[in-house]
């Protein structure tokens, strides 16, 4: 049977049958004990788990029986981030989750072809949280709607949950290569070549934006205690929010959009990607299925959506509102990125992000800067790309999100200069990445933003040939001092021939 995932806003009503059955399926999974591999919380823990945080948020009552250590070791803490496995792992995770919900739906007398909807927040008038998820009640007015969670605070941390359209983009769809480098250049559309990576350091293009950003803005932080993230803001709690799955269905759809447009976009063929981390002696991807079996899969198994029996009702990137950003700069976006990556300059020391606006100066090396300007002037067949790196970002609050502007004049209002916005960063996973005795070794996260367009524009107005480039960080909501958010180094790299 082929399953077609459909837009949640176009199912025929706020509580269309597809949504209602999802809610019933979720309720059935939530009713199961944590120790059961097909339970709601077990599936959430497969994405990530922090028992102290779960307990604090009320998802792990004292005395609640956990699964055996063998089950935990096999299934929990599997999500792949900062890795070229990000997309294929989540595709398998979605399919397995969907199979479990569908099994519950069928048990309850629902349709055997029930399919998970996706949330395309890019489409006009669809950026608000789908209404069924925003209501504490079932459609008949009865409480305990399983799609509703209280720890979903929204971009302004006031409970109004939506995705600000002006703050998300689909520039990642213009990245020509699936995988890239971790040395300061493009990390690629799908992320950098890693082993099993339950939270790698360098996030790929589609992972940084829109994936991380939507996580951070939908989840937000507890307004009464900013150290407490919304469920969606932290990888260790994100899988507990029912909207997580619709967001990831959209990210999965965008992978298919990227692959189809243009046809030169191809998935990796390297055996270490195709065969997955098992090929290098690491954990394999495995999911508990409703019949009690374990489904093991590799990224290679995930490349052909049709063969998996899945499809989407729409392969357009977003909607009319975001058509322009997808195109990028004509003649540049589709060009292959060069192999040579080189540091152009960096900030002197770390940059703490506290309160509102924060500025930093990136000192540029004269000789390398001239290479960049010459590359732009020459308009070569494979022009240099320029990347802003936010290295070793650490902190304790995953709910932190900020916009990054480059070359903004002193005193200028950021909102008046959207052309100078390098990107928007949500620190999804930063808390764990900052812990010394976790997988990152405490070195934090690194974000890479393509600022080629801005560098070109600055060059045309003679503002690139300067000793220092000003970078401004504008938090969505003020960052408390206790969050200890710090960028280890802000740097600029060129990537070319």
């Amino acid at each position: 049977m082929a399953f077609t995932r459909e837009n949640v806003y176009e199912l025929g009503g706020d509580w269309a049958p597809g949504i209602l059955w999802y809610a019933r399926g979720v309720a059935a999974m939530k009713a199961k004990a944590l120790a059961e591999p097909t339970s709601w919380r077990f599936y959430g823990a497969m994405h990530g788990v922090d028992t102290k945080l779960w307990h604090k948020l009320g998802y792990l009552p004292t005395g609640d029986k956990k699964p055996s250590s063998k089950l935990q070791k096999a299934f929990w803490k599997q999500c792949q981030h900062g890795s070229w496995y990000f997309l294929p792992w989540h595709r398998g995770y979605l399919i397995a989750f969907e199979a479990n919900v569908r099994a519950e739906v069928v048990k309850l007398g629902g349709p055997a072809d029930w399919t998970l909807p996706y949330w395309n927040y890019f489409k006009p008038h669809q950026s608000a949280l789908p209404p069924a998820f925003a209501s504490a009640d079932w459609p008949d007015g009865q409480g305990n709607n399983p799609l509703f969670v209280t720890q979903r605070y929204g971009p302004n941390s006031d409970g109004n949950v939506f995705v600000p359209v002006s703050q998300v983009n689909l520039k990642a769809l213009t990245i020509p290569q699936f995988t890239g480098v971790s040395s300061g250049g493009s990390p690629g559309f799908g992320g950098v070549d890693t082993g099993f990576s339950h939270g790698g350091s360098v996030h790929g293009g589609i992972e940084t934006q829109p994936h991380d950003w939507v996580h951070g803005l939908v989840g937000g932080g507890d307004p009464n205690n900013p150290q407490i993230p919304g469920l969606m803001s932290d990888p260790d709690t994100a899988g507990l929010d029912p909207i997580f799955w619709l967001h990831h269905a959209n990210i999965d759809r965008l992978w298919e959009v990227w692959r189809r447009n243009p046809p030169s976009h191809v998935n990796p063929t390297d055996p270490n990607w195709v065969k997955g981390p098992g090929n290098v002696g690491e954990r394999i991807f495995e999911m508990p299925m409703p019949d009690g079996s374990t489904w093991k899969y590799t990224p290679g198994d995930m490349v052909d959506l049709g063969n998996l029996g899945y499809g989407y009702d729409d392969y357009a990137a977003g909607g009319a509102a975001i058509a322009a950003p997808v195109q990028g700069i004509a003649g540049v976006a589709a060009v292959e990125t060069g192999k040579h990556v080189e540091l152009v300059g960096a900030s002197q020391g770390a940059v703490p992000i506290q309160g509102g606006d924060v500025s930093a100066s990136v000192h540029l090396d004269k000789a390398v800067r001239q290479k960049v300007t010459q590359g732009i002037a020459a308009a070569a067949a494979a022009p240099d790309r320029v990347f802003l790196n936010l290295e070793n970002v650490t902190g304790t609050s995953d709910a932190t999100a900020f916009h990054v502007y480059v070359g903004l004049p002193d005193g200028a209002k950021p909102e008046d200069h959207p052309e100078l916005q390098a990107g928007s960063i949500a620190l999804f996973g930063v808390r764990k990445a900052s812990l010394v005795d976790e997988e990152h070794g405490g070195q934090g996260l690194t974000f890479v933003l393509d600022i080629t367009d801005i560098a070109n524009a600055l060059h045309l107005t003679n503002k690139l040939d300067v000793d220092a480039l000003h970078v401004r960080f504008v938090p969505v909501t003020p960052v408390p001092k206790e969050a200890n958010v710090k960028i280890g180094r802000v740097s600029v790299f060129r990537q070319g021939s």
């Binding site: 070229w84 290569q177 995988t179 890239g180 480098v181 971790s182 040395s183 300061g184 250049g185 690629g188 950098v192 070549d193 082993g195 099993f196 990796p268 390297d270 055996p271 270490n272 990607w273 065969k275 098992g278 090929n279 290098v280 002696g281 690491e282 192999k339 990556v341 080189e342 540091l343 300059g345 960096a346 002197q348 020391g349 770390a350 000192h363 090396d365 000789a367 390398v368 290295e391 070793n392 010394v436 005795d437 976790e438 997988e439 990152h440 070794g441 405490g442 070195q443 280890g488 180094r489 740097s491």
Partner: protein, 254 residues
């Protein structure tokens, strides 16, 4: 090959060449670094220990030979572990400063190991002096190494050895950061490897094979990712799985 793998190879190849060169010297001239016993040292403590014995031992193991041997041992055993941090230094440094920064990193790293070497070699010499023909010190050192291997403190050192800190781009600050990174990386490396590094020094016979075994072990445990410190067996997990996976792949190709 992926772009990231291509970049990794740019560092891994020279690192491998240095490692192989060091091993070639060790195999061709094994006496270049192994400690020598003195035929005149009393076989038991009860027979008395004379100043002459110590002088005899030192004359057979002059400081210059000890230092050369220790550096050769470091080059053979530790160089393979430095590919990732050296790549970090190269990636995050201006192209014209790369080799200078790598050199400073290595200087910092080796400096820590030289200090550690004084302690390790002194211990080994003391063992030769007091128990020249006894297996007891080797058994004791192996027991200590085993306990350290399983301890949470070892994991703490391993975890910190995986962290790659930011490096300033310009001037003296860039030099200081590269040197500091080498020093801190060296400290955590000594913290995780000291017990295993002591072991080969205690082998009067079979010193080179013992070094080879320890080197493989150190590389294997470095393959594992940082994890929560606790008492557990560590060092062979991922390496074993890697060998099995690669063997299976080769057999499938065949």
């Amino acid at each position: 090959m992926t772009p990231a793998a291509r970049e990794r190879r740019q560092v891994e190849v020279p690192v491998l060449l240095v490692t192989l060169a060091a091993w070639a010297v060790l195999i061709v001239r094994p006496g270049a670094m192994s400690l020598s016993n003195s035929c005149c040292i009393p076989s038991t403590l009860q027979e008395g220990l004379s100043t002459m014995s110590l002088h005899m031992l030192m004359s057979r193991n002059p400081l210059s030979t000890l230092a050369t041997g220790w550096l050769l041992m470091l080059a053979a055993m530790m160089t393979p572990l430095l590919a990732a941090p050296i790549r970090h230094v190269m990636d995050r440094t201006l192209a014209r400063r790369r080799w200078r920064s790598v050199l400073l990193f290595v200087v910092g790293y080796v400096a820590v190991w030289i200090v550690a070497g004084v302690v390790i070699l002194s211990t080994a010499l003391a063992v030769r002096l007091f128990w020249p023909h006894s297996l007891l010190p080797i058994v004791a050192a192996a027991t200590v190494a085993l306990m350290w291997q399983c301890s949470p403190w070892k994991q703490r050192c391993l975890n910190r050895g995986h962290a790659h800190t930011p490096i300033a781009a310009f001037g003296g600050a860039a030099d200081v950061d590269a040197l500091r990174f080498g020093l801190t990386h060296g400290v955590w490396c000594v913290g995780s490897c000291w017990a295993l590094m002591l072991l080969p020094e205690l082998f009067a016979v079979g010193h080179i094979p013992a070094m080879a075994v320890v080197t493989v072990w150190l590389i294997a445990e470095k393959l594992d990712r940082p994890s929560t410190p606790r008492w557990q067996w560590r060092g062979t997990g991922k390496a074993t799985r890697l060998v099995i996976a690669q063997t299976r792949m080769l057999l499938q190709r065949g």
